[in-house]
């Protein structure tokens, strides 16, 4: 009887420790750590130049919680009529916590018919992924998605 009591308390203690550990992990990964968010903003500036960047029209479909950062399915869709006069010319996808800020860039024109593509990416940490679309009139639109990563890609470097 006494033994089962002790094992119960031990279990409770372990669960508590595990829970607080998880809490710590979440805190650690959500605090700003590296200079990479600035690097992402710098890349964004080189893409857009002085042109205004508006929020919207770009939708990133990424799972909100990723177990394995080595293969994360991603679909990017841009709201555009895709006509000869009004279409998407390029879509850039950037990140703020991988070793480098680029993910993928696609170039297309009105012949695509639909401004949407899918691929699989690597994510090294819990972070924000952004998509920037350049339209044929020279305007830029931006969309973003926050992704929580539990097992990072290229773990050896972190």
């Amino acid at each position: 009887m006494k033994q089962s009591e002790t094992s119960l308390t031990r279990r409770a203690a372990l669960t508590g420790a595990a829970a607080s550990g998880a809490g710590l992990l979440v805190l650690r990964s959500s605090e700003p750590a590296s200079a990479t968010p600035e690097a992402m903003r710098a890349v964004l500036r080189t893409i857009t130049g002085d042109a205004p960047v508006r929020k919207g029209r770009v939708q990133l479909d990424l799972p909100p919680l990723v177990e394995n950062g080595n293969t994360v399915p991603m679909t990017v869709t841009v709201d555009s009529p895709m006509t000869a006069r009004d279409h998407v010319t390029a879509i850039h996808v950037l990140n703020e916590r991988n070793p480098q800020p680029y993910i993928v860039t696609v170039h297309l024109d009105h012949r695509a018919g639909k401004a949407s593509f899918s691929t699989r990416i690597k994510l090294g940490d819990t972070q924000r992924v952004i998509g920037v679309a350049k339209m044929s009139d020279g305007s830029f639109w931006i969309g973003e998605q926050e992704v929580i990563v539990t097992i990072a890609a290229c773990l050896e470097t972190f």
Binding site: T71, V104, A112, K122
Partner: protein, 106 residues
């Protein structure tokens, strides 16, 4: 050595928006990983992918090390005429892979 899987509809009507899916076998080594002996594994990625439709470029991508191994891509184009779609992947260490697929457009 490298192999690709390509999925293009065999037939389509003029003006149809078709979906093209490609999957290519490639390690996409980032250049940021450390090997078993403690040495840095050199970068080995596919840098560009281009799709042409009867010689005209319809879709082009630039990959970075943040694209997962064995890059998968799904994208769209409008069926305009019967012909050949060419897919071309190029990357580090003179990686080059060219595949084609035919489409009949009615």
């Amino acid at each position: 050595m490298a192999r690709a899987l390509i999925n293009v509809p065999k037939t389509a009507k003029v003006g149809d928006i078709i979906e093209i899916k490609t999957l290519v076998s490639h390690p996409m080594e980032t250049g940021y990983r450390v090997g078993l002996g403690g040495e840095m594994l050199p970068r080995d990625i596919i840098e560009t992918f281009v799709c042409t439709y009867n010689g005209a470029e319809v879709f082009r991508t630039e990959f970075s090390p943040a694209v997962a191994a064995n890059p998968y891509l799904s994208f769209h184009t409008m069926a305009t005429e019967t012909g050949v779609l060419e897919f071309r992947w190029e990357g580090d260490n003179n990686f080059l892979l060219v595949e084609t697929a035919s489409i009949t457009v009615e």
